[in-house]
Amino acid sequence: MRNAVSLAQMELRRNFRGPVGFAVAGLFLLVHGIYFVSLLENYAGASLMAMSAGQTPARLNLVDAVLQPLASGDTFLLLLLLPGLTMRLLSEEWRSGTSELLLSYPLRDFDIVFGKYLAAAAMLTGLLVLSLLAPLCTSFFGAVEIPTVFSQLLGLLLFGLCCLALGTVFSAITANQILAYGATVVVLFSSWFLGWWSHNLYGVWARATGWMSLATHFNPTSYGLIQLSDLVYFFGVTGFLLYVATSILSSRRSGR
C-alpha cells in the first residue's frame, strides 16, 4: 500500500505539471458551474411563476429542481472527462518506455495499477469536493438536505471510481492514449444507455440489462437513497476491473 501511495504522489505531481490535470479540472468546474447557474435560474423563474399564480407545487424544492438534475448532469460530464484522466495512466508508460523503469522496481503489479488508479481517484475526489460549492451556494437561498447531498456525493464518487477502473483497464491494454480514451468512453456510454434501453425490454432481460447499467445504480443515490445492492455493484465492478488491469500488466510483463 505504501508503494501505491508513493506512486500516486508521483503521478499527481506529474498531472499538475502538465495540462491534463488543469484541463480536466477546469472543464469540469466550468461546465458544472454553468449548468448549476442555469438550473438555479430555472428554479427561480418557476418559483416566481408559482408564487404569482398562488400555487406551491410539491416538487418545487431546491433538491429536486437543482441538486438532483445537477448530480445527473455531472455523471455525463464525468463519463466524458474521467477517461481523459485515465488514458495516460499506463498507456503513456508503454509509449514512452518509462514502464521499463517502473517494472524493474520492487513493486507488485497490483501496486503499480493501484498507485496509478489512486492518483486518478484523488483527482476525482478533489473535483467532487469542489463541486460541493453548488449545494453550499444553494443553501443561501433555502434549506438543503445534507443527507441527500452526501448521498449524491457518494453516488458520484462510486460512479467515478468505476469509470476510472474501466479507463485503467484500457490504458493497460494499449499504448495509444486516444484509443484508450475512445474505448473507455464508448463502453461507459454503452453501459449508461443500457439502463434506458432496459425499459423497452420485459422480464429477466429487462432486469438483467438494467442491473448492468451504471445509471441504474447511480440514480437512487441522486435522490438520497443509498442501497446496499448499489454499493456492492460499484465496489464489485471496480474491484473486478482493477483485477483485470493487474492481470493485463502481468501478462505484458511475461511477454505472453
Binding site: L7, M10, R13, P106, R253
Partner: protein, 320 residues
C-alpha cells in the same frame, strides 16, 4: 550475485536467446558484446524481470526472479537502453519518488539522495525539470535511479549510446568507480568500452554464447597465443628481407609467417610459432644468422578482431 542458467527466450518462432548461462560475482563487470539483434537486450530484460523467459532460471543474490521477484528486484539496479524518464518532474523529485518506490526508509531518504546526486554529479541540475536536462544529464539521472538503494547488482543496457565523446568518458568513469563493489552486467557494442570496463566479456550472436572470458585471454586464445611480432633491424635491401624469409620458411618451429611492413631499414613480420617457448629459439637462430632482432613481442588480436572473427565464423558455419 547474478546467476543465469540455460536462459532461452522465443518471440513466436524467433529464437532470441538460446540456452545462455553466465554468473557475475561482486566486483566483476561482465560485458555482453554482440551485434544488433544478438539477444543482448532480451537477456538483460529477462535478468531484471521485465519479461518471463521461455525457459531457464535467473537468480539474483540467491533469489529466483520467477519465484521471489520482489526480493530479487530489491537487489537490482537497472539502466535501460536510451532511458526514458518523466520530463514533468524535477530531478530531485524523481529520485525521491524512486527512493520511495524502492523502499528506502524515510529517515535515510535525504542522505541517499545526496549520495547518488554526488556520485552522478547531478547537483547542478537537482532542481531542474528533467525535460530541460541535456542528454548526458538524463543518462546520469538514469544511472542515479539505478543506484538508489545501493543495490549490489547493476544491469546497464548500452549506457553510453547516443552520448557525445565527453559524456561517454564521464559515464564510463562513473561506471568504473562502481565496478569494484558491485556485480555489473554491461551490454554494449562498443568494443573499447568493453575492453576498458569489463573484467569478463561474453560474446553473443543469434542468442548464443560464442565465447566468454577475460578480454585479454580472449584476444590471445583466438590466435592460439603463439603469434609474435618480430622486427628485424638493418634489413635495408630487398635481398636481406628475402634471406630472412627463406630462413623463417626453413625453421620447423615456425608454423606460418607474413610480412607486415618494411621501411626505414626495419622489417616487421607476424610469426606464428608451434609453441610459445619457441620464441627464444627463434631469436637464437636469427642472431646466429647475423640478423639484428629489434623487437619480439606477443601479438594479440584486438577484441574487435576477436568479435568479428567469431561472428564471421558463425555466419560461415551457418552458410555451410
Amino acid at each position: 550475485m547474478i546467476e543465469v542458467s540455460d536462459l532461452t527466450h522465443r518471440y513466436g518462432s524467433l529464437l532470441a536467446v538460446d540456452e545462455l548461462s553466465f554468473t557475475v560475482r561482486e566486483g566483476e563487470v561482465l560485458g555482453l558484446l554482440g551485434p544488433n539483434g544478438a539477444g543482448k537486450s532480451t537477456a538483460l530484460r529477462a535478468t531484471v524481470g521485465l519479461l518471463t523467459p521461455s525457459a531457464g532460471r535467473i537468480k539474483i543474490g540467491g533469489h529466483d526472479i520467477a519465484q521471489e521477484p520482489l526480493a530479487a528486484r530489491r537487489l537490482l539496479g537497472f539502466l535501460p537502453e536510451a532511458v526514458a524518464l518523466y520530463p514533468e518532474l524535477k530531478v530531485r523529485e524523481f529520485l525521491r519518488s524512486v527512493a520511495r518506490l524502492k523502499g528506502v526508509a524515510r529517515a535515510r531518504e535525504e542522505d541517499e539522495l545526496q549520495r547518488v546526486l554526488e556520485l552522478c554529479a547531478l547537483q547542478p541540475v537537482a532542481n531542474r525539470l528533467i525535460g530541460f536536462c541535456s542528454r548526458g544529464y538524463r543518462q546520469r539521472i538514469g544511472l542515479a535511479q539505478a543506484l538508489i538503494g545501493d543495490p549490489p547488482a547493476l544491469v546497464l543496457d548500452e549506457p553510453t549510446v547516443g552520448l557525445d565523446p565527453g559524456q561517454i568518458v564521464e559515464i564510463r568513469e562513473r561506471i568504473a568507480t562502481l565496478a569494484h563493489e558491485k556485480a555489473v552486467i554491461l551490454s554494449t557494442h562498443i568494443i573499447p568500452e568493453a575492453r576498458r570496463l569489463c573484467t569478463r566479456v561474453l560474446i553473443l550472436n543469434h542468442g548464443r554464447c560464442m565465447a566468454e572470458d577475460e578480454p585479454t585471454v580472449l584476444e590471445q586464445s583466438l590466435h592460439g597465443g603463439n603469434a609474435v611480432r618480430l622486427v628485424l633491424d638493418q634489413v635495408a635491401s630487398e635481398e636481406t628481407v628475402e634471406e630472412a624469409k627463406r630462413l623463417l620458411t626453413r625453421l620447423d618451429f615456425v608454423r606460418a609467417f607474413e610480412t607486415r611492413e618494411s621501411k626505414a631499414a626495419q622489417c616487421t613480420f607476424s610469426v606464428e610459432l608451434e609453441h610459445p617457448s619457441s620464441a627464444a629459439r627463434l631469436v637464437d637462430v636469427l642472431v646466429r644468422s647475423g640478423f639484428r632482432v629489434c623487437e619480439l613481442t606477443p601479438e594479440n588480436l584486438g577484441l574487435e578482431e576477436v568479435f568479428l572473427r567469431l561472428v564471421r565464423e558463425e555466419k560461415g558455419a551457418a552458410a555451410r
